[in-house]
């Protein structure tokens, strides 16, 4: 193993096959939770996201989404100005005015998220109270919720966690248990959701629902007879609130790659008492097809060395997939936050000789990356081109959140996302 530059040894713990977990603090090169709006507004189709923040927040969202040309965007920012800060204008009255004019302009909106930001959190503008107040006013037209996507509290995909948590919070605590049901939690592309739905149904699990739903009118069932599967690793708060309503988590790895998907489905199948024979019957054809598709990319990935910069919390499951199924060698796995319980199965599957770093000091991490000289680095767009200019091949990490990557049919697509930059570097070098 390469020399580890400057990694703090305090709070050091280890998991799985003696894999060290370092905690690092310093400059973090990550997105804030507001970025979640970019995919959430497409998923929940009658929802609107109103950021309450500064011009910086508006600028962030538009820099991320503004390449697309919109006729009617489903997000906006209420920009706080100095009148709001000086107390000349009552911030709550101002917010009510903005929300009213927005809902009058867009009567098709059925659910409005007031999204908190760093400025609104620092001045302690109580958005949950504002949501309650406005809810009364728009009782039959629109539900109004709030969550925080601020950088001080949330990192990138944690914005989705906060958004989904606000949805769960709305669901009243159940009085009595109903029929056993399965809840799949985490925003999935429509095509992936449909594939999973078919698989569960074939396995004989009939009562399956997905959360978040595609529109705000769909009812979500959570009670003490609910078992839930996490489809994404970044849903700590959402999971906690679901459990408060009596539901139980099915411990499983995340459904990336063939092994991950099988284990994820199997964990649910076991809870429903699906026989091993039935399980194989349903999954075997999909597995064989996925293996055939994946085989194309394995020669490009095998024994290549990879490092991850922290971004989305998908890093650990992805590192597991790439090492377990594609034969890659994992050097460093950076993650913005590590939920040991949700990742316990994943951590056991990680190879020896990888190191996990929770948190970030970007300059030091870059030093380690340069010393490690990985074949490919997974990092954000702020670092990708500068690293390429240094001769290091990169895979920009945000794409992993924006592409269908879960499940059998996407296993090869997921591998291809990593093979493509390697393939390209070779092509352009030749």
């Amino acid at each position: 193993m390469n020399a580890v530059v400057d990694l703090p040894k305090d709070h050091l713990s280890s998991v799985g096959k003696n894999i060290p977990i370092y905690k690092e603090r310093g400059q973090r090169e990550v997105f804030c939770g507001l970025t979640g709006i970019i995919w959430l507004h497409r998923k929940i189709q009658d929802a609107f996201f109103l950021v309450v923040g500064s011009r910086t927040c508006a600028h962030l969202v538009q820099s991320a989404a503004g390449v697309m040309i919109f006729a009617e965007p489903r997000f906006a920012t209420a920009i706080i100005d100095d009148r709001d800060l000086a107390g000349i204008a009552d911030a709550h009255e101002e917010l009510d005015r903005v929300v009213k004019s927005l809902l009058t302009r867009r009567p098709d909106i059925k659910m409005l998220f007031l999204v908190g930001s760093c400025p609104s959190e620092v001045i302690k503008l109580d958005l949950s109270r504002a949501a309650q107040r406005l809810n009364k006013e728009f009782l039959n037209q629109c539900r109004i919720l709030s969550y925080s996507g601020s950088g001080i509290e949330t990192t990138f995909t944690q914005g989705e966690d906060a958004c989904l948590a606000s949805l769960v919070n709305e669901i009243p605590k159940p009085v009595m248990a109903e029929e056993k049901n399965l809840l799949v939690v985490g925003c999935l592309p429509d095509v992936v959701e449909d594939q999973f739905q078919r698989l569960f149904n074939k396995l004989g699990i009939a009562r399956v629902s997905f959360f978040p739903p595609k529109n705000s009118q769909q009812k979500i069932e959570i009670h003490s007879n609910t078992q839930y599967l996490l489809a994404q690793p970044f849903l700590a708060e959402t999971a906690r609130l679901i459990e408060e309503r009596g539901a139980k988590r099915i411990s499983a790895p995340f459904p990336f790659g063939i092994e991950g998907t099988s284990a994820w489905l199997k964990a649910a199948a076991n809870q429903w008492g699906v026989s091993a024979q039935k399980f194989d019957e349903v999954t075997q054809p999909k597995i064989e097809r996925a293996q055939k598709a994946l085989a194309r990319y394995i020669p490009m990935l095998e024994s290549k060395r990879i490092s991850f910069f922290p971004d989305s919390q998908l890093e650990i499951p992805l590192a597991r997939f790439l090492s377990q199924e594609c034969g890659m060698k994992v050097l460093e796995i950076g993650t913005p936050y590590l939920h040991k319980q949700h990742l316990e199965v994943e951590l056991d599957l990680l190879p020896e000789n990888s190191r996990i770093v929770e948190g970030q000091d970007v300059e030091k991490q870059l030093d380690r990356c340069r010393a490690d000289k990985p074949d490919i680095v997974v990092c954000g767009l702020g670092l990708a081109n500068p690293l390429e200019a240094e001769g290091i091949t990169t895979k920009w990490s945000i794409e992993l959140v924006f592409s269908p990557v879960h499940g059998y049919e996407q296993a090869a697509d997921l591998a291809e996302l990593f093979a493509r930059p390697l393939n390209r570097s070779m092509k352009l070098a030749a």
Binding site: T56, G66, V67, I69, A78, S101, E363, L381, G382, N385
Partner: protein
């Protein structure tokens, strides 16, 4: 609070970043929460920079707010100095850090670093990106240029001419170009080439690619070329006041303005401009004169952008291409006066706003044939189905092209001609569509065929009067329905059908003119005759 769908400018610290990222050995320590590093992407992705911007962020989180964020800031400054060894540093706060009031300037000063540390006060809740860039550039130049207070501006000027050797060329600086500036890279090359061909030596280009020691040399030049007033005017004014350096006022966008610029510069450098002007080919002028361009006459154009680009574009559109400027506006409040004056010369009222919805409203009212604007106007033009070209920031990645594409100088004029004409339907096609409307391929509803697209859907062909985009302050849903039902009852069925025979790119105007004519003449029902009466009344 202001409801904002799109913002024309970022916060002021983005402007400061643009200055820092332009220079080679200046570092910026920005007190800001986790997540504000998104701004790096503007440079690495949109500007496709090979380097990370020289910015260290403190990226504090909620748990830090309970502790000592001031210490965090001091540590960041120290670490940044140790690691990057810059020749000078700027320090400041982003919008959130402004609220927690840690005083970055004072804290950095207390560290007594052996380099100049320049504090920035950028009020995030009042000011915006260009102001931030202008202010930062000004403070850097003031901080890095040595001033002898005992010498007056006039004495400085006299010393400069006295020290001049026999036969030495006149000298100037080019001030204003920055990283992420719209076509700044190529504008500098074009203008520097033009100045050198006139026999003028360009000393310092700043802030783009300048070093800290370059800035100190600014006062040695005879005069300054203020290329982008949004960024450079404040600094040039100070340099003039302090060192007696005059600066140029003409923005060399378009053939005429470039010639005026050459004359202005020649006067400042005491040179004769006529030789250089005579040597120019002026291809854009000839292209506009050639008969192929006749159909461009009086095409109605709406122009929006930053102050300088909007004013320059209007002049080119009206005087060099022969368009009719029907709308002119800017989001640069700092240049509102200049834009108002320019608008007056076209007999229109300027639109000064940073509210995207207001711009959208105006465009849909005017139903122009062409929109010249920013990335934001492309959203509007898409919605209204109007051709559009980009003339000003904010822009996205496609407007940082690999090829040489200045806006300024004689080559810039050529680029403008090609870029603006391209989205319009070409002459022959326009004629044929007016004559024969039901072709299965070249339909009247179709986009220009040279753009290679199939017919856009009916939905994107929403015409002006059917659209009612309320501005943020006066949002009323009911209006939309009322307006459209009124319009329907106003038009007789056969007149509506006749209107449909007019090609889409002038149909909006025809509809509007006819309705206006009907109102003015108290006609309650529009017939085919009214349509032609209105046409005779207003002309095409």
């Amino acid at each position: 609070m202001q409801l904002t769908l799109w913002t024309y400018e970022g916060p002021p610290h983005i402007g400061a970043m643009r200055i820092a990222a332009s220079m080679t050995d200046l570092h910026y320590v920005l007190h800001s929460p986790q997540g504000d590093t998104y701004a790096d992407l503007l440079f690495t992705m949109i500007g496709r920079s090979r380097k990370r911007p020289p910015v260290t962020y403190t990226t504090f989180q909620a748990r830090d707010l309970g502790g000592d964020t001031a210490q965090l800031f001091k540590d960041s400054v120290n670490n940044a100095y140790q690691r990057f060894q810059p020749k000078a540093m700027i320090v400041g706060a982003s919008c959130t850090a402004e609220l927690i009031q840690d005083d970055p300037g004072g804290l950095a000063k207390a560290l007594t670093l052996p380099i100049p540390v320049i504090p920035l006060e950028l009020p995030s809740y009042q000011k915006k990106e260009n102001w931030g860039a202008s202010e930062t550039f000004y403070h850097i130049v003031r901080g890095l240029v040595a001033v002898d207070k005992s010498i007056s501006a006039q004495q400085y000027q006299e010393n400069r001419s006295a020290s001049k050797q026999e036969g030495q060329k006149p000298t100037c600086n080019i001030l204003g170009p920055t990283a992420l500036g719209f076509r700044n890279r190529d504008d500098v090359q074009e203008i520097a080439g033009l100045l050198e061909s006139m026999g003028i030596e360009v000393r310092v280009v700043a802030p783009l690619n300048a070093s800290v020691s370059d800035l100190a040399k600014i006062p040695a030049a005879d005069f300054n070329v203020s290329l982008y007033p949004e960024i450079s005017q404040l600094t040039c004014t100070w340099l003039n006041k302090t060192f007696g350096q005059p600066f140029t006022k003409t923005i060399p966008i378009g053939t005429k303005a470039t010639k005026a610029f050459v004359r202005e510069v020649a006067q400042l450098a005491s040179l004769d401009p006529e030789a250089i002007l005579a040597a120019q080919e002026e291809r854009a002028r000839w292209y506009a004169k050639s008969v192929d361009s006749t159909y461009l006459t009086d095409k109605r154009v709406f122009i929006f952008g930053d102050g300088s680009h909007a004013i320059a574009a209007a002049k080119v559109a009206a005087e060099e291409i022969g368009f009719k400027v029907v709308g002119l506006g800017t989001y640069s409040r700092e240049f509102a006066r200049e834009v108002r004056e320019a608008a007056k010369s076209y007999g229109i009222e300027a639109l000064i706003t940073d509210d995207y919805l207001e711009v959208e409203q105006k465009v849909s009212e005017l139903a122009p044939d062409l929109v010249l604007g920013t990335q934001m106007e492309r959203h509007i033009a898409k919605r209204l189905g109007v051709p559009c070209a980009v003339i000003s920031a904010p822009v996205h990645v496609q407007d940082f092209p690999a090829r040489y594409s200045p806006q300024m100088g004689f080559e810039g004029a050529n680029v403008l001609f090609d870029t603006w004409i391209h989205p319009l339907m070409m002459g022959l096609e326009e004629h044929l569509i007016m004559m024969f409307r039901d072709d299965f391929e070249f339909s009247a509803k179709a986009a220009p065929s040279h753009l290679g697209h199939a017919a856009p859907s009916e939905a994107s062909q929403i015409m002006a009067s059917q659209i009612s985009v309320p501005s943020a302050s006066s949002l009323k849903v009911d209006d939309e329905e009322v307006v459209s039902s009124d319009v329907e009852s106003l038009w007789a069925a056969d007149a509506e059908k006749e209107l449909g025979k007019i090609p889409f790119f002038v149909r909006g105007k025809a509809r509007r003119n006819t309705e206006k004519f009907a109102v003015e003449h108290s006609i309650s029902r529009i017939t085919i005759e009214t349509l032609y009466d209105a046409k005779a009344h207003y002309g095409r």
